[in-house]
C-alpha cells in the first residue's frame, strides 16, 4: 500500500533520514520507534508531503508523494495527527470535524452562501458522518465546545476524530498517547484498535511507550540517527541486538 524507497532527507548538511526503505501492507498497524531525534516525525512529514526528501520515492497506491503538493495528500486518502496538537482552536469540536470534510463537500461557495435546499441537505448529510465519528470517539458531549478551551486528552481525541472525518485509507499518528496517563493511554489504544478493526484503516504510528507499541502493532520499524536499524514483528525487534544497543547502550 505504501512503499518508501531509499528516502534521504537532510537540512543544511545535517542528515535527518539516511536511505530509509520500508513497505506498509494494507490493514496493518505499523509502528515507527526510535530514540529522540531518530527521524520518526521527519519520516511522517515526508509521507504527508511536508518535507521533500532529496532522494528516494514514496509511493502510495502508485502516486509518488514526493511529487504531490501537500494539500492533495488528503484527497489520496492520507490523514494525520500531529505531535503537538494542531487543531483549529477557534472552532468547536463539531466544526473541526466538519472542516475535515472539506474534500468531500461538493457544494459551491455561492450555493452555500445562499444556504438553499441542496446546500443545506449536503451539510446535514456530512453532519451525520461527523456525528457518527464523535459518537464512536465519545466526544459527542463536547460537540459545541470551542476546542481551544478543552483539556489535553480530549483535544488529542478531537484531533483523531478530525483525521477520521477525512475517511482516510492511511492514518498517520504522531505520538497519539504522548503526555497521557495510563487510563487515557488505554482509551486511546482502544480507539486506535477500533478504528483499525471497524474501518479497516491502515495505521502508521509513532509512539514512545514500548509496552503499548509492542501490544498493538503488527510490525515495527526502528530508526536511529536517521537510519533504519531493524524492521519486523514486535518480538523480532525486541530481541534485535542493534535495537537493544540503541535503546539501552552497551557496556
Amino acid at each position: 500500500m505504501l512503499r518508501v524507497e531509499d528516502v534521504s532527507l537532510s537540512f543544511g548538511g545535517a542528515t535527518v533520514l539516511n536511505r530509509v526503505s520500508f513497505d506498509v501492507a494494507p490493514h496493518e498497524i505499523f509502528a515507527i520507534i526510535g530514540p529522540n531525534g531518530a527521524g520518526k516525525t521527519s519520516m511522517l512529514n515526508c509521507i504527508s508531503a511536508f518535507y521533500r526528501p532529496q532522494q528516494g520515492r514514496i509511493l502510495f497506491e502508485g502516486h509518488d508523494l514526493v511529487k504531490t503538493s501537500t494539500h492533495q495528500i488528503a484527497r489520496l486518502g492520507i490523514a494525520r495527527t500531529f505531535q503537538n496538537i494542531a487543531l483549529y482552536t477557534g472552532l468547536t469540536t463539531l466544526e473541526n470535524l466538519m472542516a475535515a470534510r472539506h474534500i468531500h463537500i461538493k457544494e459551491s461557495a455561492l450555493a452555500s452562501a445562499l444556504y438553499w435546499g441542496p446546500a443545506q441537505r449536503e451539510e446535514i448529510q456530512h453532519r451525520r458522518v461527523v456525528e457518527e465519528i464523535m459518537d464512536f470517539l465519545e466526544i459527542a458531549h463536547i460537540r459545541k465546545a470551542v476546542v481551544g478551551a478543552l483539556p489535553y486528552g480530549l483535544r488529542k481525541r478531537v484531533e483523531l476524530g478530525r483525521a477520521l472525518a477525512l475517511e482516510p485509507k492511511l492514518l498517520l499518528l504522531d505520538e497519539p498517547m504522548a503526555g497521557m496517563n495510563i487510563e487515557e493511554k488505554e482509551d486511546m489504544a482502544r480507539f486506535i484498535l477500533d478504528v483499525h478493526e471497524r474501518r479497516g484503516v491502515t495505521i502508521i504510528l509513532i509512539e514512545h511507550d514500548m509496552g503499548l507499541v509492542m501490544d498493538i502493532s503488527h510490525r515495527v520499524l526502528v530508526l536511529d540517527f536517521g537510519s533504519k536499524i531493524a524492521e519486523g514483528s514486535p518480538d523480532e525487534v525486541r530481541n534485535n541486538p542493534a535495537v537493544i544497543r540503541a535503546y539501552l547502550g552497551q557496556t
Binding site: 501537500t70 494539500h71 488528503a74 500531529f82 483549529y88 461557495a109 452555500s112
Partner: protein
Amino acid sequence: MAVLRPAGDFDRSYAQDMLLLRQPWQRWAMALIVLGVALIPLSGNAYLITTVNRIMYSIVAVQGLNVLTGMTGQISLGQAAFMLVGGYIVALTAQHWGMPIFVTLPLAAVGTGVVGLIFGLPSLRVKGFYLAMATLAAQFIIPWLSRHIYPEYLGGSSGRIAVPSPVIFGVTFNQVAQVFYISLTVLVITTILLVNIRRTKLGRSFIAVRDNDLAAEVLGVNPFGVKLRAFFVAAMLAGLAGGLKAISQRSVGTELAYGLNESILLLGMLVIGGLGHNLGPFLGVATIIFLEDLANLTGATMASLFPAHATNLLTSFRPLFFGLVLMLFLIFEPRGLAHRWEILKATWRMRPFSR
C-alpha cells in the same frame, strides 16, 4: 463549555440544531429590528438618517475586512482603497453607460473583487506583518492612479467626480433618506450571505487557514486558494460599501476620505467590534461612528469655551478618542464587544447562578 439551554429545549433533527434563529421570538425580534431601522427615515431627523446610513455602508466594508482579517487572519490595510474602486465603478458605469443600480452595484462588487485578488497575490509568499505592508501598496497605488490616469474620467487633480443618483422604477434616489433603503437592502443581503458562509465549507476553511494553515493544508485545504477567496470576498464587500458611499455622498474621489486613515479606522472598528464574529462589524462600526460624533461635539464645545485655540480643538478630539478607545479595548477587551455580548448572553442563560 457547550451552549446551555433551558430544560426541555431539544432538537429533533440536525436541521433544527443548525438553525440560526431557533425560537419564534428570535425571528420576530430580528424582523422588528430590521423594521425599526427601516422606519428611521420617516422620523425626518437628518442627523440620525445620515449617521445610520453611514453606519450601514461602513458595516458592509468592515464585514469584508472581517472575512479577510477576522476569519482568515490576513491583515489588510487597503480596504478604503478598495471602497474607492467600488465607488468609481458605480459612478462611471452609471454616468457613461447609464446602467441601473441593479447592475452597477454587483458590477462594483465583482470588479473590486478582481482588484482585490491582484493585491491578494502576495499572500502566497508572505504572512502577517509583511502581508500588511503588501496590502498597504493598494492603499497608495489606487488613490494615486485615480488622480493621475484618465483625468477626464476619474477627476484628475480635483480629486472627485459626481455620481449620478440612481433611478429605481422611475423614482430618483437623490435624498439620503432614500439611499438609506438601498444601503439597508445591501446590508441585509450581505449579512445573510456572510452568516451562511461562516457556517459552511468556505467559512470553515477560512478559519482553518487562520488557526493552523499547516494542518489545514494536510487536511486537503489549499491555503493559497482560500486566502485568495478571502481577498476576493473582502474586496467585493469593500466595492459594495464604496458604491453605497459614493451614491450617498453623490460624488467619489480621493478628496472624500478613502485614505490610509480610513483603512486603519475600518480595522479599528473591527477590532473594537470583535474579530471573526458576525456581530463584530455591527457593534464596532456603530460604536466608533457615534464616538466620532461625540468627539466632534466635544471639539465644538471646547472650541466655543476656548476660542483662541478653536481650530486645534475642533479637529483634535476625533483621533484622540479613537486612539484612546482602541488602546483601551486592546488592553481590556481584546476580543471586542461581540465577546462581551456572548458573555452577557451566557450570564442571562445561567441566571440566577451567574454573577
